[in-house]
């Protein structure tokens, strides 16, 4: 796989995007001189020698100036698009990774427990997975999103406000659990019939020990293949939910919210749409291409249908 140019290329692209977004505060301070929420509606800047309104009197914001200030133009609130793009990237990527982590942890755990212990554990867990699986992804996302938005979440001592970034991450992570848990469960079901598990049992090893020493290593490769897929889908779902208003809430920037405002202004300032779109697509495409190369290299045939 190290020879696979596509794989290497996509990893590099993805890494560059992540680094760029991490450097958002640096860019904001040293290049653009403004923050993501700073409003410059009434300002006037010089473009090509001519003074231009950041946001024209008819409400149309400036397009890309290709200068350090407002490199990619401004949005209808006069905010620097490039700065928002990078800050939005941090939000979207953070949510994407966090969600993926949630899915990976709970998905693997559920899959292994259901597949290994079978019986009642399996029945209960599988029904639970079926329930989550039954909801069309976006619908569940918006259901949870709107429900949690108004009041946030309070479980015991843990309080998460409705506006926090944890909420979309939790929701997205939760929604994708069955997509990982089911294939893992199928894999574990097959694994537990194998000889080395029987051998470990005969040696007197307890269930937990068997799971850790025999099952987990064999399941890891299947899980690893899913990682890029889940990250990419998490980022996409976040963008989708934010676009609809059920994910990240304004004024927090995220690629999803920026795409939403961009779509509205597509006829006047297409750059508003294309900037976040290109970033989003570059991120997800590189993740997906990497995932495909990973799958080819590892040669697994586990599918996401889990049947």
């Amino acid at each position: 796989m190290l020879h696979d140019k596509v794989a290497i290329g996509s990893v590099i692209v993805f890494a560059l995007i992540v680094i760029a977004c991490l450097c958002a505060p640096l860019y904001a301070r040293f290049v653009a001189g403004t923050g993501p929420d700073a409003n410059h509606v009434t300002e006037v800047i010089t473009v090509g020698g001519k003074p231009t309104d950041v946001v024209s009197t008819s409400g149309i914001p400036i397009g890309p100036t290709w200068q350090s200030k407002f490199l990619l133009g401004a949005d209808s609130n006069g905010r620097d698009v490039a700065v928002r793009l990078l800050y939005g990237g941090r939000t979207s990527l953070a949510i994407g990774f966090l969600a993926a982590a949630i899915t990976l942890t709970f998905g693997t755990l559920t899959g292994i427990l259901a597949g290994f212990f079978r019986g009642w554990t399996d029945t209960v867990l599988s029904r639970a997975l079926d329930v989550i699986w039954a909801y069309p992804v976006v619908l569940l996302g918006i259901a949870l999103g709107t429900a949690l938005e108004l009041g946030g979440l309070k479980v015991g001592p843990v309080v998460i406000s409705g506006n926090s970034l944890f909420v979309p991450a939790l929701i997205i992570g939760f929604v994708f659990i069955p997509y990982l848990a089911r294939p893992i469960r199928t894999q574990v079901l097959l694994l537990r019939e194998r000889e080395f598990v029987a051998a470990a049992r005969l040696l007197g090893k307890g269930s937990l020990s068997i799971i850790v020493s025999e099952v987990l290593p064999n399941v890891i490769s299947a899980v690893v293949v899913f990682v890029p897929l889940i990250v990419a889908n998490a980022i996409l779902l976040e963008a989708g939910l934010s676009y609809l208003g059920a994910g990240v809430q304004a004024p927090n920037p995220s690629w999803g919210t920026m795409i939403a405002s961009g779509v509205a202004l597509i006829t006047s300032t297409p750059s508003l749409l294309f900037a976040p779109v290109i970033m989003l697509v570059a991120t997800t495409v590189s993740m997906n291409l990497f995932g495909e190369s990973l799958r080819n290299a590892l040669g697994t045939t586990t599918s996401m249908t889990g049947r």
């Binding site: 619908l139 259901a143 429900a147 059920a246 795409i259 779109v277 599918s303």
Partner: protein, 316 residues
Amino acid sequence: MARYIARRLVSSLVVLFLVSVFTFLIFQVIPNGNPALRIAGRGASSATLATVVKEWGFNQPLYVQYADMMRKIFTGSVVSYSGNINVMQQLRAGLPATISLAVGASVIWLSGAIVIGVLSSRRIGGTVDRLMGVLASVSISVPVYVIGAVALYFLAYKVAIFPNGGYVPMSQSFFGWLDHMILPWLCLSVGFIGLYSRVLRSSIIETEGEDFVRTAKAKGLTKRRILVHHVLRTSLIPIISLWGLDFAGVIGGGAILVETLFNLQGVGQYAAESIGLLDIPPIMVIVMYGTFFVVLLTTAVDILHAFAEPRVRLQA
């Protein structure tokens, strides 16, 4: 076979029940929040709030609340307080558009996926295959509403080949209906074709390595017959299961993004608008119906699957 069907039906009833309970929990029981406030919507007056509390029985024990909610939903008497409209009526009004979208798109994406999947599998690793692989990865990475927005921009705004969104019922004008549906169909299909064609390709490659395909060749059958009758028949089976789930998802309002973008006034768009207003009752009803539809359709697809694949019937 009958036992399998019975088992499957029982299991789906259980899931349906659990789905209803879960939906109930999401909307009415989530900790830290006044559910009455949620139902009444943002900016509800105290009078509306009181009505809500009474009608929905928030001062009653949970199981009564649950029974109430189910009754309301299934008798179609849920009312949205923001606009004082009956939710069921709105839902029904949006169905034709959503169904048109689902049916048309799924036909396109299924046939597209089969064609591309088969073509890619003929020469694995060849130029066609690699190109299709990259295109597939790209197509599942671009959000569907972006494709839609770009398509609208270029094909409806810059060059007015297609109308700029909206829905025309078939009863009104067949060509008008077609004209308005083509772009949404294509946009929705792109991502699915990308995904399904790769799944089919893997499935075909796996099937072609099976013993019975070797036997088919040894019988002196033509390549065409082997492909269609033996390979495809087996390798299409997982695709059909996937298709059932996605089709149901679209009808259940899952194509919310496409509908909103193209202003099709379908069920999904209704849900989207309700989110904007933070109007819970419609969302609740749509989610409930959406999931019910998904469970029913996937059960039907599973049963069909069992007819096609006799070995499945032996499984638990």
